[in-house]
Point group: C2
Chain length 339, copies 2
């Protein structure tokens, strides 16, 4: 559906000009700070603009060839701390630079991704910051190329469709956790996740985790659902399922910390001692983990860094210093105590 808004009586440059006794062009110059306009005229115009509540019509402005200050940011979902942290860092960097952020969510869905990119492009943004980790439609890539819009891709450094890539190596992250489990001498390990079909990065982590374990002769039992939330609830359900079938499992790696917390609760319910009988590991050192009592292993990296560097990347695309690819290093982190 579309909504007709034409009845608005908008204030235009001419209206302001009439009130100030000058032409629309002069008003335009004053408001943009260009041209040679004496202080007196300037003040008069400013006052008139204020009185009328004038707002530049970006539609007309950009159409006439002005430079855009709008940056579109696309994340899978704002409900995940990881992405909202990145978002926050991007905003923190772009706002002082005078750039305005427009946010969209893709839900890891390539069709929605396409729609959102198309929506963003339709307002001719200065640049786009897109999350990677999904199988982007060929049409989407084509659109971006045709419109020649600068793109910074975050979260995925493998895919190199765009100008700049910033994120961790998800394979490294998966391998890292496998090495951690191996160093603890675990022989029977589980993986719990949800919605892996769409999230390529999570799948990369899981695969690298499995490969590194297998290389040392350790089996991985996957317990994955496509229809459960990536939250504590989902972690609970899947952990129950996993423990019902494989009660002798020694360690579980979860898709994220929220699901790991769900697993933690199930172990508690069943009287399984963590970490003595069962090691629990998440991903993304989220702040809920901060207050956890029982020992939880997780993988951390600076999301702030990803956001900040993405925003700097946007700027670099124009200032010339070409940032190319920034790899963010994941590290293993222990949270909680073992009392």
């Amino acid at each position: 559906m579309t909504i007709n808004n034409k009845t608005n009586q908008k204030v235009t440059l001419s209206d302001v000009g009439k009130l100030a006794g000058v032409s629309a062009m002069t008003v335009s110059k004053v408001l943009r700070g260009t041209g040679r306009i004496p202080e007196e005229t300037r003040k008069r115009v400013q006052a008139a603009a204020n009185e009328l509540g004038y707002v530049t019509n970006q539609l007309a402005s950009l159409l006439a060839g002005a430079s855009s200050n709008m940056v579109g940011v696309l994340i899978p979902t704002a409900r995940d701390v990881v992405y909202s942290d990145i978002l926050s860092a991007i905003n923190a960097e772009l706002r002082p630079a005078g750039l305005r952020t427009f946010i969209g969510e893709s839900y890891f869905d390539p069709a929605v991704d396409y729609e959102q990119v198309s929506s963003f492009l339709s307002i001719r943004p200065a640049a786009l910051i897109l999350h990677g980790g999904i199988e982007r439609k060929a049409e989407t890539i084509k659109l971006l190329k045709k419109q020649a819009c600068p793109v910074v891709q975050i979260w995925d450094v493998e895919n190199t469709d765009f100008n700049i890539n910033i994120g961790p190596s998800h394979a490294d992250a998966g391998k890292l956790m496998a090495e951690h489990f191996l160093s603890l001498g675990l022989k029977k390990v589980g993986y719990v996740g949800a919605e892996l079909e769409l999230d390529i990065c999570a799948a990369q982590r899981a695969n690298a985790f499995e490969d590194a374990l297998k290389a040392q002769g350790v089996d991985l039992i996957r317990c994955v659902a496509e229809d459960l939330p990536r939250q504590a609830e989902g972690g609970e359900v899947l952990t129950r399922r996993l423990l019902d079938h494989y009660p002798d499992i020694q360690g579980i790696h979860y898709l994220n910390d929220a699901m790991a917390l769900g697993g933690m609760r199930v172990s508690y319910e069943r009287g399984i001692s963590v970490p003595d009988s069962l090691k629990i590991a998440g991903f993304n050192a989220t702040s809920n983990v901060h207050s956890v009592r029982t020992k939880l292993t997780t993988i951390n990296m600076s999301y702030l860094d990803i956001g900040t560097k993405a925003a700097k990347g946007v700027v670099s695309l124009y200032t010339g210093e070409s940032v190319d690819r920034v790899q963010i290093e994941p590290i293993v982190l222990e949270r909680g105590n073992t009392t």
Copy 2:
């Protein structure tokens, strides 16, 4: 800063028309599904548009008087589950209706709020969904009135500056928790929060909480910081501070669940039995709370409902059925067990 993007060789209606052997107008009609165009021409035009990767230039389209399908949604921050849940519900409702969401964050800052509203208005959206709970600048209100843009306000039902208001009564929520504490017979109660100066709704809850307690002769000790995060970390710091000065406190109400979890951790550290010696209460039944072991009281309401109804409100503004004000009822909820 602004970024010059003019070098882009954009695809226009004429370009598509040339390829398809028709005029720009015909292409426009085909893409919008108006006019009487035979199936054959229609297909040819569609194919040409696809091949060239054409995207409607909304700038030109809206300027020429077309109806907008863009809805701006402004939330305080995407880092809070409450707002990201609302956001998610809004998206779920608007997308099938063919409306596109543009999101912005205000960080509870009236100046940023103004900038964001101004940015939104500059692309002439179909409607705006704005969060309440901040002291909006007079200029912001003026802008919205001048541009005659339909506004749905969420999260705050007290303020009636706009067409539709959807949210809980924060005073009721505060009172509710006070009644709960009173029913438990508590005589010495604390409140822990952060960044209350900007968040009017949180302040309303805290005040109503205090008033209802005082009416029954119960004192409230406030421990609030303006410079700490509204997360577990902040909850820990403030709980320590509060317990250091008032070790005999019997119950603490936190600004939100995340801070309450921080408080939970501190009580555990200090060997304080919850809920026997100390009652802990948060706000917003967030999913981290789902897996908590110790008993935690919180206040819940349907965030989904707020989002869904806000989106429906946007539609109702045009279909005529006038939604006016929807009050969402908060309820007290117990989480965790007491073992």
